[in-house]
């Protein structure tokens, strides 16, 4: 280790400053002795004794006083040594001296701003040294590790703030650095989570207004990247969904007792394990989504959710909506809407309907109406009157479209129209009961031209997914609401030849974006405001009873088929790991994922109404692609 001289010398602060300045100036002239000693002191980072720490702090302070003499070309090794330091390797004294030096450096010359910001952003995560790489997770569990994390991150964030005070344009540079330094999708989960945590902290901090939108957009981009990494096949392995479906039938037929049985418990556990444990990407996505949810929650509590949501919505329209059948990332929107259905929920629905009605790209229009239908069906807290209003706009568009068409069935040419019809029926399957319970909405529903559309020569009833059509017709008949033509013949089929065609290569006919979320941790946030098919179905069991009152329906929405779903998510303690896990398992039983073989008829004809797919797999068979 260098600098034996420095140990013995006794300087005042200003003398030391002068020495460092002289050393820096001498290095430019070619005399590098003292300069090299200085670099060596800064380089030395392992097992520092108390004297060495003191020496390092003194040197850093002295360099901070002499930043105006540092030259980016002549003092490259010094700069590399400083910028190569990691706050995680040192105690608080060194950290403080180092961040002070960084602020001085960044404000002394424009050339150093990027370098300093980049170094701070790298410090969001522990360094890639063997020590941290192997022990990081264990370390974070201990109080020592946690306090280290707090010490480092507090300093990183306050320094970023300090730099932006002195260099007002630094957030502009920071945006780019944040984007570039974002860990790639194959980075380990804790590291990635930590980075995202820091980004969100920036968003909620003083610099939020400046870098916030970049942060949110970058996170959404990363979520969607992770999302598309998970293949549909991973979720819908044959025996996986078959098993779930079998259990759903069991559950429906009888009692919850079956579920308690050991045999079922094991199988189910094994199935969830199979999806989750083998799937690191899903776990990663799950953690990042939870971080985002928590952030949205805190934004809501601070009254700035709408502001954040506007950015999210823009990013959603650009990335999630246009991505090929996003599976999970869209639940960020769902959660934000469930926090503030008045503002966010309505903004989402309005944005989607605007795209459906006025969009240019037919695939995006279909995808947006699929999102809309799924959202209107699944979100518990949106008012029924609002559902009716949005539905009316969809129906009106479909009506004005088919009014001008006089051809026969043509799934390919009129795919947007068929998507609209299917969306209408899908929403009504979930919401019809609720609408009929309110006289005003009932008459509104009757005034919509649904019969005209469904009876049109384009024959949407034969093109849309038979399972939805069938359920819709059954409901319409039971409630004597629409006068509709005869049911098509293909009872019990999930998909038909026509539906495959109108869905196109992307199978947008089978796209229900807000189907039950398979991510374990996310599900806890989503569930309190989520409508499961089983909850809706249970209201139909009372079909024969006269005068079902609103309250009954509301009750059914709250306590669906044995699972109690609290009205207010905030009452729940999410920390109760065990009970939550149980509830999650229980909810998984409520999903009916359709079997891979679409010709396989599930459920008997007697129970046809059970077949409403609450989770539909996309067809991945080669011929459909």
């Amino acid at each position: 280790m260098g600098a034996p001289d420095m140990d013995e010398l006794c300087f005042t602060d200003s003398e030391l400053d002068l020495h460092v300045r002289n050393a820096l100036n001498a290095a430019i002239q070619g005399d590098c002795d003292f300069y090299n000693q200085l670099v060596a002191v800064i380089h030395h980072k392992e097992r520092l004794s108390a004297e060495e720490v003191a020496l390092l702090v003194t040197c850093l302070k002295a360099v901070a006083g002499a930043v105006s003499c540092i030259h980016i070309v002549h003092h490259r090794s010094l700069l590399a040594a400083i910028l190569g330091m990691s706050l995680w390797d040192y105690g608080t004294d060194v950290m403080d001296a180092l961040v002070e030096l960084l602020v001085s450096l960044a404000s002394s010359n424009g050339e150093y701003v990027d370098l300093c910001l980049e170094m701070l952003v790298v410090n969001f995560m522990p360094p890639d040294t063997p020590y941290y790489a192997s022990n990081f997770m264990e370390l974070l569990k201990q109080p020592r590790g946690l306090s280290k994390k707090t010490q480092v991150l507090d300093r990183v964030h306050s320094t970023l703030k300090d730099i932006s005070n002195v260099v007002p344009l630094s957030p502009l540079r920071l945006e780019k650095i944040l984007r570039d330094q974002m860990p790639k999708i194959f980075t380990k989960e804790p590291i990635m989570a930590m980075y995202v945590e820091n980004m969100l902290r920036l968003e909620s901090g003083a610099m939020g207004e400046l870098v916030g939108s970049t942060v949110l957009v970058t996170i959404m981009d990363r979520l969607i990247e992770l999302d598309v990494e998970i293949a549909w096949e991973d979720i819908l392995q044959d025996d996986f969904h078959k098993g779930i479906f079998d259990m759903e039938l069991e559950d429906f037929e009888g009692s919850a007792d079956h579920i308690e049985q050991d045999g079922y418990e094991l199988t189910r556990e094994a199935l969830i394990q199979r999806f989750f444990c083998g799937n690191l990407v899903a776990e990663k996505l799950d953690s990042l989504m939870v971080l985002t949810f928590e952030h949205l929650k805190s934004c809501f509590e601070n009254g700035r959710l709408v502001q954040v949501y506007e950015i999210l919505l823009q990013s959603f329209q650009k990335t999630v909506l246009t991505a090929y059948k996003s599976k999970f990332a869209q639940f960020v929107m769902f959660y934000a809407c469930s926090l503030d259905p008045e503002n966010c929920g309505q903004m989402l629905a309005n944005a989607l309907i605007d795209i459906f009605v006025g969009g240019v790209n037919p695939e995006w229009r279909m995808s947006s109406v699929a999102y809309l239908a799924s959202y209107l069906a699944r979100a518990k807290c949106i008012p029924v009157s609002f559902v009716a209003a949005i539905l009316e706009r969809v129906v009106n568009w479909c009506f004005s479209y088919c009014k001008n068409q006089d051809g026969d069935i043509n799934p390919k040419a009129h795919k947007v129209f068929y998507a609209g019809c299917q969306a209408t029926m899908y929403v009504l399957c979930f919401r019809m009961k609720q609408m009929l319970a309110v006289p005003r909405l009932k008459s509104q529903l009757q005034l919509m031209r649904i019969d005209d559309i469904l009876g049109h020569p384009l024959r949407p009833l034969q093109v849309c997914l038979p399972s939805i059509v069938e359920e819709f017709l059954r409901l319409a008949k039971a409630n004597h609401i629409f006068s509709l033509p005869e049911t098509p013949d293909d009872h019990g089929l999930l998909e038909s030849e026509h539906s495959r065609v109108f869905g196109g290569i992307e199978r947008l006919d089978m796209f229900f974006p807000f189907d039950p979320c398979l991510l374990r941790k996310c599900d806890r946030y989503i569930r309190p405001n989520y409508v499961y098919w089983s909850m809706v179905r249970s209201t139909y069991d009372e079909d024969d009873e006269e005068g079902t009152s609103d309250e009954d329906i509301a009750d059914a929405y709250d306590h669906g088929n044995g699972i109690s779903i609290p009205d207010d998510g905030s009452d729940r303690s999410y920390d109760e790991g065990n009970s939550d896990a149980d509830e999650f398992d229980c909810a998984l039983d409520k999903m009916s994922i359709t079997p891979r073989d679409s010709s396989h008829k599930f459920g008997g004809r007697m129970q046809r109404f059970v077949q409403m797919p609450s989770k539909i797999r996309p067809s991945m068979s080669p011929e459909s692609l």
Binding site: G65, S68, S108, V166, L169, V360
Partner: protein
């Protein structure tokens, strides 16, 4: 303040065909992308714009995407500090070795200790840092002071100004304005000749970093430049 100028530019903004419905917004967003970056064509940092579209007709470029070019005339406010110009900024941080200020709210300026004249002495009083003048005890520089300094160099990429307080007509703007006689007397004739009287005249017109446009002839210059923009 010196360094600011208004110019009139003839521009052609090429827009993507998807923007045809909302050409006005698209033009504004194109112009916004110029803000706070140094632009060599204009020779300065664009701070504000005021476009006037000259006609409804646009020229369509042949190609896979038929971009269309809208001709417009825009008034631009440019910021282009040159060495020896006198600027003003608000002091945000003082250290024993440097003074940090922010000019016009976006550009950072630093004055290193080599560039602070010996008259000023740094002192830290109960945590509050201050630079005060040895000759005029009332002439102080604190955080929040509007500082008048001369430009040494300007980093066009990050808009970072390196400044100097060596000349006598630099320092706390408020004190300089109030005590015109004292510092102009102290100012040697040599310095006067170097900086020129006109500049001091000009300096006197500004208070607290705001630009007074009474002396339009000096500050506002018209430039006509053409710029093709895609």
């Amino acid at each position: 303040m010196a360094g600011l100028e208004e110019c009139e530019a003839n521009l052609v903004v090429y827009l993507h065909p998807s923007k045809a419905k909302c050409a006005d917004d698209a033009i504004l967003s194109e112009l916004s992308s110029l803000l706070f970056t140094y632009n060599e064509t204009f020779g300065g940092v664009v701070l504000a714009y005021d476009p006037k579209i000259r006609s409804n007709l646009a020229k369509i470029l042949p190609g896979v995407y038929p971009f269309f070019g809208v001709q417009l005339k825009a008034k631009l406010l440019l910021f282009n500090p040159k060495p020896d110009m006198v600027l003003e900024g608000e002091v945000v941080k003082l250290t024993p070795h440097s003074i940090h200020a922010v000019v016009l709210g976006f550009s950072s300026a630093v004055i290193a200790d080599d560039d602070i004249r010996d008259e000023f002495k740094h002192k830290s009083k109960s945590g509050e840092e201050v630079y005060f003048s040895r000759t005029n005890r009332k002439h102080k520089i604190k955080v929040g002071t509007i500082l008048r300094f001369s430009v040494k160099s300007f980093d066009e990429e990050i808009l970072h100004i390196s400044g100097s307080l060596l000349a006598h007509h630099t320092g706390c703007a408020r004190w300089l304005d109030k005590n015109l006689d004292e510092w102009s007397r102290a100012d040697s004739t040599a310095t006067k000749r170097a900086t020129g009287d006109g500049k001091q005249e000009n300096d006197r017109l500004m208070i607290d970093g705001e630009t007074s446009l009474q002396n339009d002839e000096q500050i506002v210059k018209s430039k006509k430049r053409r710029k093709g923009h895609t």
